[in-house]
Symmetry: C2
Subunit: 338 residues, 2 copies
Amino acid sequence: MKLLLIGFGTVGQGLAELLIEKKVDLKRNHGLDCTVVGISDMLKGSCHNPAGIDLEAALAKAAAGEPLSSLPGGCDWDALRMIDEADADVMCEITYTDIKTGQPATDHIRAALAKGMSVTTTNKGPTALASQELTELAAANDARFLFEGTVMAGTPLLNLVRETLAGSEITEMKGILNGTTNFILTRMEGGMDYAAALAEAQELGYAEAVPDADVLGFDALAKVTILANTVFGAALRPADSPCRGITEITPAQIEAAAADGKKYKLIGRVWRDGAAVRASVGPQLVDTTHPLAGVGGATNAMTITTDTLGDVTIVGPGAGRRETGFSLLNDLIHLGRS
Amino acid sequence: MKLLLIGFGTVGQGLAELLIEKKVDLKRNHGLDCTVVGISDMLKGSCHNPAGIDLEAALAKAAAGEPLSSLPGGCDWDALRMIDEADADVMCEITYTDIKTGQPATDHIRAALAKGMSVTTTNKGPTALASQELTELAAANDARFLFEGTVMAGTPLLNLVRETLAGSEITEMKGILNGTTNFILTRMEGGMDYAAALAEAQELGYAEAVPDADVLGFDALAKVTILANTVFGAALRPADSPCRGITEITPAQIEAAAADGKKYKLIGRVWRDGAAVRASVGPQLVDTTHPLAGVGGATNAMTITTDTLGDVTIVGPGAGRRETGFSLLNDLIHLGRS
């Protein structure tokens, strides 16, 4: 399986590390022999080598801040030229997320699929805004479009729904899809106020300097939109659904909730409402006996309501270099099987 | 796909109901068209009809306490004769569990696999005692042996490990595998003593009149043995692992634990210890911030420790007519795909 990595930041490097570490295991247990033939990163430069790029060397260049173009096969191709020129089976789209436009990732994915290359991505922009178009484009070109890592990183939520709940009808999904806000709320339960908890999250690298995408709920909104459109077959855009963040929750409210046996969680929710599919993001009170109440810190969780099993909840990491890199590897294994 | 149902108790009837309810969906979404050609139940009698047994009629007979032999194709064949005479693709083994001998279910499964019939079962006896032999026998006869429902009923734990954590190394699994004891412990947290909580569990049908298999830990022990032998590739027998139940836990201990921010849970655990695989069942103190602590009542849960994602926890039903019936349906969908 010949791969292109479009983007070589934290997640791309996490995938490269896993491909090195698990090379023998992937071949033996899954018949999967991956060769990265091209890498293109807007900041780190590009490299194209049909015989296979030395991933150890590429990681060393990234760690040293040296350009990938100094590797054998180094070149100045941008992402679209790399997709056009390289002969590969699968493109891994792991550039930055722009949730307003989905670009330039959407154009990268369109170009790869149009060439008959399958795509796996962790990029929430194209998946939230254009999953239907991209899935249809994949089918028309005998390729596949997978995106396990867009929701809950490598925690296998989308695979769980597709592979292991097959035969069940899903009527609702609700959960904790943003680790940063869950970390802040967990710290506030311990008595901190919002500003101090946010500062600690920023210090630990969970929250960005401009934390709006997390604390105002937009990151969770992108994820519920992905679930609405891919699991429930809707055609929602992020702006179609109500979205509130956690910035107005006070320590007094959290204390009052605790006295009442409840906790505040930022809940992303998708549900069937007659023939329609609805989605929302906002703080909700969760009873302490519910599985979501026990999910503390930066962990994510999703409760899936089915017609066969009632509620099934999956809890796992929602971010991380290795954890998100694994989502791509998991998609590659599924692509290798089919 | 032609099916045999060996056993037509609660779980067999739950499967029959799902096959009726989901007939159109299974054909449309999974290309699966199931016909039950034989049913054999030790108490309810037998019926063999190559054209397909009317499942509504079979359920009505069971509800009315009338023998299945009064249906078209009614006969006096026992399970082994049914397996021998009938032409089927898959046998569903859903007779009672004998955890000491695994019989007569193990003989049923051997006979079906030897004929090249695939098998799906919810029966913990043969799976705990002979999973390796049966998996090898299946492979030798170009058949498959699946047993999703033996652990956590239809909650897709085994499928999760096989399908969606592919590429990960699992180093430990620990969880709540017995709903009856978890219900009793949850009630004891509310202030009841053990005897009163057990009596309530018996009244609600969670616990049997002789509750030993649950409260002494033997049911959970069968399940951890299945996990050790199938997920971790060990060759343990139930008696090889230490097993303690919940009968000695006192309300005072539960109260002291709560004051310390902890809860008692009956934990089944399997882990790698160097080259060996170990398993155990016993009450353990779980911190209230751990996802397992929030699992109350008759619900089951399992935390899977991986090298790629750290901990992933799945929470869902561990029993129930429809929930366990779904485990068989899920296996049938996977058999239909392969």
